[in-house]
Structures are given as structure tokens and as C-alpha cells.
């Protein structure tokens, strides 16, 4: 799974905001997320909320894609701004899927659609949406629907970068699927921290040390992994 920082829209907006505030010297902030053993944490969602200014109004962006391939969702964690849409293409060769969510932020289901087809869902409420497949219990994906345009997902080295930030006070929120009760409680379990971004200064790396639960994902059945009967 490749880390996919969703910076396209955010960068433009921050650029515009910087223009609006009359300051072109916007700052970048690096995040480094580790667990209690100081191992880098992938798939953590980092979101920044300005405390000195209101959030900019949401504007539609290009839909992100969460594909189903090899009876897995890909990517595992997707962060997007509220109002954005996601496409759920079935990239299997033969198997149908029945993608659903029971999360209050976006309950939906797409009963049994064939390979090659794709469904699109618009996430109109902030929160964590857990995607499942009614046919394959082990299939699991998280869509983190955020109100802020400033967010990123950590890469395999546990780092993420959010660019184009105005100086001032910010609240950082870090969410990860393996935080305790993350699937049920959603963003409420996110680690939060406030910090001030000084003008014309190099922002220090924001490090978060997360206490993560063991990975309790359902194991895939052996036959579908191609191992066959033995």
C-alpha cells in the first residue's frame, strides 16, 4: 500500500488563504507518528484545525478511489474532507462484492456489484466510516471524513507533511484505526495537541506517540488467498 498524501486541494486552498491574509510566506509542518515502542506508525490520519481563523468553506473536490482488489480494500485508510466523494471500483476478476457501512457518519450499502463496476458514495458528515463487505468478513477500510482541509496520512516511515500553513495557533488531531475503540467512537478518540506556528521560522517536527491496540483484523480465509486445500 502506497502512502497517498492528499495535498492537492489543500495546497491550493492554503495558497489562496495565504494570499487572503496578505502573506505569502506560509509554513510547512512535519509530523512524526510512533507507537509506544517508537516504531513508525503508518495509516495515521493527521488533521490540523486553525484556532485563530474559521475553517474555509468546503468545496467539491475530485473523488478519491478505494478499490477492491484481491478481496481487500485499497487503501486501508482514506482521509477526505467532508462533502467529498469516493469511488468504490470492483477490480476483481470474477468475485462480486457487497460493500457497506453501518457507521452513523455514513450508513450505506451497495449490494453485490460485479467486477468492473464502480459505485460512488459522497461523505457528507464528518466522522469515521468503517467500510466492510458482506461477503468477505475480513475486508476492512476506514474513511476518515474531516471538516478541515489540512490533513495528511502517514507513510510507512510514520511521517506526514502538511504545507502552506499560516502562522498562528493550530490544533493537531491524530487518529489511527488501532487507537482504543477507534472504529466505534470515531474521531473522538483522536490524540489532540495545540501548537503555535511562528512567522518566518522553521516549524519544529510535531511528534506523536500513540498507544495502539493489537491488530485485531479478521484473518482471510486460506482458500481465497490462493493457498488451496491441503
Amino acid at each position: 500500500m502506497l502512502p497517498r498524501p492528499h495535498l492537492g486541494g489543500a495546497a491550493i486552498i492554503s495558497f489562496l488563504l495565504a494570499l487572503a491574509f496578505g502573506r505569502l510566506g506560509a509554513a510547512d509542518v512535519m509530523f512524526k507518528i510512533t507507537d509506544v515502542k517508537n516504531a513508525p506508525v503508518v495509516d495515521a490520519v493527521v488533521a490540523l484545525y486553525p484556532l485563530d481563523a474559521p475553517l474555509p468553506p468546503a468545496t467539491p473536490t475530485a473523488p478519491v478511489e478505494i478499490e477492491q482488489r484481491n478481496t481487500e480494500f485499497n487503501p486501508f485508510v482514506t482521509a477526505l474532507r467532508v462533502g467529498s466523494a469516493a469511488q468504490l471500483p470492483n477490480h476483481e476478476s470474477r468475485i462480486e462484492h457487497h460493500v457497506y457501512s453501518s457507521s452513523p457518519a455514513k450508513p450505506f450499502e451497495f449490494p453485490l456489484y460485479k467486477p468492473g463496476k464502480s459505485e460512488t458514495v459522497v461523505f457528507d458528515k464528518p466522522g469515521v466510516v468503517v467500510l466492510g463487505c458482506n461477503i468477505h468478513d475480513w475486508m476492512l477500510a476506514y474513511v476518515v471524513v474531516l471538516e478541515t482541509p489540512w490533513f495528511a496520512t502517514t507513510a510507512a516511515d510514520g511521517t506526514a507533511k502538511i504545507a502552506g500553513l499560516a502562522p498562528g495557533r493550530w490544533r493537531a488531531e491524530v487518529w489511527h484505526p488501532r487507537l482504543k475503540d477507534a472504529a466505534n467512537a470515531g474521531l473522538a478518540v483522536a490524540e489532540k495537541r495545540e501548537f503555535t506556528l511562528a512567522a518566518d521560522a522553521v516549524a519544529p517536527v510535531q511528534t506523536f506517540n500513540l498507544k495502539l491496540e493489537p491488530d485485531r483484523r479478521i484473518r482471510r480465509s486460506p482458500t481465497l488467498r490462493g493457498a488451496g486445500y491441503k
Binding site: 457497506y100 457501512s101 453501518s102 457507521s103 450505506f108 450499502e109 468503517v130 466505534n184 485485531r216
Partner: protein, 617 residues
């Protein structure tokens, strides 16, 4: 003295008592040990069965839980259920309740409830409308426990509408780890469950609630009501009891009226003893419940009883054998002993000729041989004594037997009597020797008899002469008196013999007797091979000389004695006359002693004063 027979009977009885007593101790001990061991074994066996039953109970419950959990897992994964939570609008929970109702049929759960994954665990759907918010607390408790522990299945015992039940709570994942709701399933621990357990384990099962100390409640049981009530009381009284123990329960048939209940007097009623095991079963948020597992002891003891019966028969047979054996041994001992006893009677009676059979090799055989040897020895001694009596005088024989035939003697005062037949040499020439011998024997026989009657001892016969001793070998205080009495008796006996001879037309005999008292040496005289008891001394010669003096016509007497003898007389109240003389029951006779003056005796320097002895007129 008890009769020997009785004694030996007692010996046999004692032997019998000993054998039977020992046998009894051994058998009784064995019996008691076997009984105790088999009882303990039966209890152990029952206790093991109870422990196994307790394990089977746990396993059965666990299997039911696993079955329900698996069923629940399948249900929650089912599209039918899940889709209720995928709709944006409020789900149709009435339909969901109906769905759950049909599910209860499918998985044989008494009730299935669906609780929301919210703080209050709101009831969403319910297969049984009787289940309301109040009695769902155990499910709520379990679902919170499951969320806390992040476990896919939690379960526990609780009362659901008063019914003891096992509750299973499973989360409805949509998808995992997102919890959409909670599934609660249950199955009852009721009489059917208890009966099922009994079928598998053949153990009586009673579930008892001890929440109310005054009134323990039987929740379900395989026992008759009264027995179960008793078990419940016992369970209440011994909550901490974890080891198996024995409990008496009323042995009522299952259809007995329940009136004879918990407090019924067990001593009056028929009871059945049960090996009982209490198993405490924790309850959700409540006091633990007690599972009473029981197995009657009687069937467990059946094998032991059989063994004991066999043992009893073996014991009786051993007793009988021991009795026979004891009789045999006692008879084997007592018969020969009785024989020996009879033999001693024969020996006591002087019958030494009998012999005991010497067939045995044991101690009794040795004893028999010793007896026979003793008989032979006694017979030999008797024979020797007999011969001795004939050859020597009885007193000498007795002295020989007493002191042994050893050479040597002792000095003592003895009165010596010498008697000689006058004119015997002429007689021998006239008659045939056989006739002479016959006559001589007749004469000697009479004389000997008179001497012995008066306590004299024939020392020896010297042809027709007799030498007799008074005061030897046995000392006599009145030896002199006896000698004089004997002499006079001989004179009379000869007169009697002469009358007989006259009647036979034979010549009369005449004798002369000399009596002297002197200190002599008395003892066994001779060689080591042959010896005689006799006396040696000058006094003996004097007696012989005095006898010879009776031939002197002017003395006109047949009996001459010396002054020493007269001096030794005990009876001398009147001079010259012995007024009374008594010996050996003979009638008293007066004796006259007439002095004859002094004579010179050949071989002696001193003259000897002599006296004639005559019967008093």
C-alpha cells in the same frame, strides 16, 4: 484330681480354642480391612464419578455456549440482520424482532435479544416480548464486559425471569471491529438439562440457589422432591464444602407426596446414602449457585458386598477345617498320652511286662520308648530284688538296695544267735541225702520263720547250723530281748516239728542255741565280685561256743546266753525272770534266766558268765 480323660479333653478344647481364636482374629481383621478398603474404594469411585460429572457439566455448558456463539456469529454476519443497520433511516425493529423469533427456533435458544451499542445498551429487538428492560441487566452486564475486554464471546450464569440460564453475548460487527449491536442468547439450566446430564453420567444433579439462607431453593433436579429439598438444605449448611462427603436422603419414590419434606425425620424414614459433591457455580453479579452432584453409595458397594460374602464363606470353611484339624491334632496328642497314663497305672500296679507301641517318631514316641525302657528297668530291678530276697534276708536285701553293694562296714552292737541241730551228723549217715535235705529244709524253714518273726536276720546257713543277727543291719533297741524270744520260739517250733515227725514215724530233732551280744563290725564282706553281708568279731565266736555248751548235760538247757546279752536286755524288772516280752504282736511270754556260773571259752582269756534261758513256769 480330675480324671486324665477330662484333662486331655481340656487340652483338645484349648487347642481348638487357640486355633479358632487365632483364625478368628486373622479372618475378622481381614474382613474388617477388606470391608473398610472396599468401602473407601467405593466412595473414591463415586467421588471420581462425581468429579467427572462436574467436568462433563462444565464441558456440556461450554459446548452449548460454543454452539450458541457460533450460531450467533453466523446470524450477525447474516445480511438479513446486518442490513437493518445499514439504512440511514431508523431501522424496522419490529421486523427484526420477528426475525429473531425464527432464529430462536433455528438454534434452540430460549430467547435472543438485540441491544444497541450505546451507553444504556438500549433494547432494539427481542424474540420474546416477555423480556423487558428490567430483566435484561445480565445481558447488558455481559455486553459491557465484552466491550471492556474486546472479546468476541462472553457468557455467564444468571436468572432470566427466575429461570437459571446460561447467557451468551456476541457483538454484531459491521464490519469488525465496528460494533453495530449486541446479540444476547440463552439456554436454560432446567430439569431437562439435568436429566440429560444424568443420562450421560448416571449421576443425580440438583441446582440449588442459596441466596435465601432460610429457604434454599431447588432450581432444577433429577431427584424426587423431598430428596432434592434435603440436598438443598445440606448445600446451604455447608457452602464451603468442596470435598465429596456422604449424605443420607429420604428414599422416597419419585411420586411420593412432597409433604414429607425437608425437615422430615430421616431416622424414621427409609434413607439412601449418597456420595455428594458440591460445586459452586459463580453467577453474574449475584451470589454463587450450588450444583449438587450425587451418586448412591449402594450400587458402588455391590461388588464389595459380593467380595465380603465370598470372604464370609471362606471364613466359615476355614473355621470348619480348623475345627477338624484341631480335633485331629488333639486326638493325635491325647491318645498316646492316655496310653502312657494307662501304662503308668499298670506300672504302679506292678505290671512291668506291658509295653507301649513305639510307632511314633515325635516327642511322644520318645516318651513311649522312655516308658518302655523304664518298664524294662523296673522289671529287671524287681527280678533282682526278688532273687536277693531269697538269697539274703529282706533287711539285708533292702540295705543292699539302699546303700549299694560296697565293701566295708561299721562297728555296732549286735546280738548273735547260733543254732545247731544236735546229732545231725549221725542223722546224715542214717538216711538218704535227699531225705536229709528235705528234713533239713523243713527244720531250717521253721527256724528261719521264727527268727524273722522276732525281727532277726538270717546271716547264713552253715550246713545244719543257723547264724542269725539282731540289731543288724537295722539297729534295734531291744535286739537282746528279740534274740531270747526268738530262741524260745524256736524251741517251741522244734517241739511242734517233732510232734509232726513223730506222727510221721520219724526221729525227733534236738537243737542247741547260743546267744551273745557284742560289738562287731557289720558290713559287706568278700571280694568285689562276690560278697556277703555279715558280722565279724570275737563276739561271734563266743555265740558259737555258747551254743556248743548246750551239749553239757549238767546245764540242762538248750539255750545259753552270755552276761553281755542279759545286760543288754531291756526287760529286767525281776532278777532272773523276764516277766513280759512282746514282739511283733506275739502273745506275751514270761522268760526265766538261770545263771550257770562262769566258764572259760576257747580263745578268750576272761571267763564268761553264762545263763540258761528257759520259758518261765
Amino acid at each position: 484330681m480330675p480324671s486324665p480323660r477330662f484333662q486331655f479333653h481340656r487340652f483338645g478344647t484349648r487347642l481348638l480354642a487357640l486355633l479358632l481364636g487365632l483364625l478368628f482374629v486373622v479372618l475378622a481383621t481381614t474382613y474388617a480391612l477388606v470391608a473398610r478398603a472396599s468401602r473407601a474404594n467405593a466412595q473414591d469411585h463415586a467421588a471420581q464419578n462425581l468429579a467427572v460429572a462436574a467436568g462433563i457439566f462444565d464441558r456440556t455448558v461450554q459446548q452449548r455456549i460454543e454452539f450458541l456463539a457460533a450460531s450467533a456469529s453466523l446470524m450477525t454476519g447474516d445480511f438479513t440482520i446486518k442490513r437493518f443497520f445499514l439504512q440511514a433511516e431508523r431501522p424496522d425493529f419490529d421486523t427484526l424482532s420477528s426475525t429473531l423469533e425464527s432464529y430462536t427456533e433455528r438454534v434452540d435458544s430460549t430467547v435472543i435479544v438485540l441491544l444497541a451499542h450505546d451507553e444504556a445498551r438500549t433494547l432494539l429487538a427481542n424474540s420474546d416480548q416477555a423480556m423487558n428492560h428490567e430483566n435484561l441487566e445480565p445481558f447488558r452486564y455481559l455486553s459491557r464486559l465484552a466491550a471492556e475486554r474486546d472479546e468476541p464471546v462472553v457468557h455467564g450464569f444468571s436468572y432470566l425471569n427466575g429461570q437459571l440460564s446460561v447467557l451468551v453475548v456476541v457483538p454484531l460487527y459491521a464490519p469488525r471491529p465496528k460494533i453495530a449491536a449486541w446479540f444476547g442468547l440463552t439456554f436454560p439450566i432446567d430439569r431437562a438439562f439435568a436429566e440429560d446430564l444424568k443420562r450421560t453420567t448416571r449421576i443425580e444433579v440438583t441446582f440449588v440457589s442459596t441466596d435465601d439462607p432460610a429457604q434454599p431453593r431447588v432450581l432444577a433436579t433429577t431427584l424426587p422432591e423431598a430428596a432434592a429439598a434435603h440436598s438443598a438444605i445440606a448445600a446451604r449448611q455447608s457452602l464451603g464444602q468442596t470435598a465429596p462427603f456422604l449424605l443420607d436422603l429420604p428414599a422416597l419414590s419419585p411420586d411420593s407426596p412432597a409433604t414429607a419434606l425437608a425437615n422430615a425425620d430421616l431416622s424414621a424414614a427409609a434413607t439412601e446414602r449418597y456420595v455428594t459433591l458440591f460445586k459452586r457455580q459463580p453467577m453474574l453479579g449475584e451470589n454463587a449457585m450450588t450444583i449438587v452432584l450425587q451418586r448412591p453409595l449402594r450400587p458402588e458397594l455391590a461388588a464389595a458386598r459380593e467380595l465380603q460374602k465370598h470372604l464370609l464363606w471362606i471364613s466359615l470353611a476355614a473355621f470348619a477345617l480348623a475345627t477338624v484339624f484341631a480335633f485331629w491334632i488333639s486326638r493325635g496328642v491325647s491318645r498316646p498320652v492316655l496310653q502312657l497314663a494307662a501304662h503308668t497305672h499298670h506300672i504302679a500296679a506292678g505290671d512291668y511286662a506291658r509295653r507301649i507301641e513305639e510307632t511314633r517318631a515325635d516327642e511322644l514316641g520318645q516318651l513311649a520308648r522312655a516308658f518302655n525302657r523304664m518298664s524294662a528297668g523296673l522289671a529287671e530291678r524287681d527280678r533282682i530284688r526278688d532273687l536277693l530276697d531269697k538269697n539274703v534276708s529282706p533287711e539285708v536285701a533292702a540295705q543292699l538296695l539302699r546303700d549299694g553293694a560296697t565293701l566295708g562296714g561299721e562297728e555296732r552292737e549286735v546280738t548273735i544267735l547260733f543254732a545247731d541241730l544236735r546229732g545231725f551228723t549221725t542223722l546224715s549217715e542214717k538216711f538218704a541225702p535227699r531225705d536229709v535235705l528235705n528234713l533239713l529244709n523243713r527244720y531250717l524253714d521253721r527256724m528261719s520263720a521264727e527268727i524273722e518273726k522276732n525281727g532277726g536276720v538270717i546271716d547264713k546257713f552253715i550246713g545244719d547250723a543257723i547264724m542269725a543277727l539282731f540289731g543288724a543291719p537295722v539297729a534295734q533297741g531291744d535286739a537282746a530281748d528279740r534274740a531270747l524270744a526268738a530262741a524260745l520260739a524256736m524251741e517251741r517250733a522244734l517241739a511242734e516239728l517233732n510232734r509232726e515227725l513223730a506222727a510221721e514215724g520219724k526221729m525227733p530233732l534236738a537243737l542247741g542255741i547260743g546267744i551273745n551280744t557284742a560289738r562287731v563290725v557289720a558290713g559287706n564282706i568278700g571280694s568285689h565280685r562276690r560278697l556277703n553281708y555279715s558280722v565279724i568279731g570275737d563276739g561271734v565266736n563266743v555265740a558259737a561256743r555258747l551254743q556248743a555248751l548246750t551239749r553239757t548235760p549238767e546245764y540242762r538247757t538248750n539255750i545259753i546266753t552270755s552276761a553281755a546279752t542279759v545286760a543288754a536286755l531291756r526287760q529286767k524288772s525281776a532278777p532272773g525272770i523276764l516277766p513280759v516280752f512282746s514282739a511283733h504282736g506275739q502273745e506275751a511270754r514270761a522268760t526265766s534266766i538261770r545263771p550257770l556260773g562262769s566258764v572259760h571259752v576257747k580263745g578268750r582269756a576272761e571267763p564268761v558268765e553264762i545263763f540258761a534261758v528257759e520259758p518261765a513256769v
